[in-house]
Subunit: 133 residues, 3 copies
């Protein structure tokens, strides 16, 4: 019944079509995964080469325009293109000390070149451990 | 041994019963799911009718009184009553452009009529994609 | 190829080694679980003795030093040592009214004695219900 909805909007009855004309600030988030190796030189537990499934959550804040802060498809493409460089690779090829904090910072820097709206990044190293920047 | 605990409270030994008399600000959250159809008119990927399991997380902030910000049962009843209208329906019957941002805004408006404390709403469209208002 | 990376850092090419020298504020989080019994005296639904798997997320904010806000291992040891007292026990042995808000507050107090950086605690009572302090 979009027709009915549109008619009500024309009549100013916004209770049923509340978001057609407003500009509202919102957060959106997307999640991607990559699988990479790493080791932390000199660390008692993490010093040997191993790996994790890294869950990466990108959170963006912005105004809703034409019903979206940003198209999920575009945002996912952007994140995927940054992550592709590190998927099925070793973080130690890119960072001297690839703690999840340093990984998060590295990814944040790469994304900063591509995104104009404010965003934060939460990187999960396996289950139950994450860093956010 | 609630008796032992109460006795200590009377003696002013709050280390074991720390929350009996204090008023503390906290956040609480509850999650519900509904299954609904939608399509985004004119969108290259989402233009055909399809559907998602929507996860809806309601986050409320308030003072802890009598051990609770709000009874989870009451908060869940409130959220369920709002969601019932949209479960196993098409969002396109209610919104011209049912992006998850617009869905989130619509649900936020409905809840605003029922809740007096500040709250936010995070709506997940399937896995790994959400909007928060 | 950490050697290549280090060489570039020496040359001031930080694009590939962006986090070696910076001091950045970040959040980190860890998650642990315990299984405990509780009942809420006089509550219509929760008045009988039952139990939950409690998921406890500890979120700490701080500066990244030597690649970490805090070693996950140390933070997990700290949280585990606090939780051990309550695992496979009844919260009613410790609290008169063990709502998840009061449980969260109790755990927060115990951790406050051990952690010097600001932190928050989110306690999940089973699925889809949590309190954060």
């Amino acid at each position: 019944m979009p027709g009915r909805c549109a008619a009500k909007a024309l009549l100013g009855i916004f209770a049923f079509c509340p978001v057609l004309s407003s500009s509202v600030g919102m957060k959106i988030g997307i999640i991607e995964h990559i699988d990479s190796a790493h080791f932390l030189p000199g660390h008692p537990k993490c010093g040997s080469n191993h790996g994790h499934t890294y869950k990466v959550e990108l959170i963006m804040e912005g105004e809703v325009r034409n019903g979206m802060v940003m198209d999920f498809g575009d945002l996912k493409s952007c994140l995927k293109s940054v992550l592709a460089e590190f998927d099925h690779r070793s973080w130690n090829d890119f960072l001297e000390y690839p703690s999840v904090e340093n990984i998060c910072h590295l990814l944040h820097q790469r994304l900063r070149n591509q995104l104009t709206s404010p965003f934060s990044l939460r990187v999960w190293e396996g289950e139950g451990k994450w860093a956010e920047h």
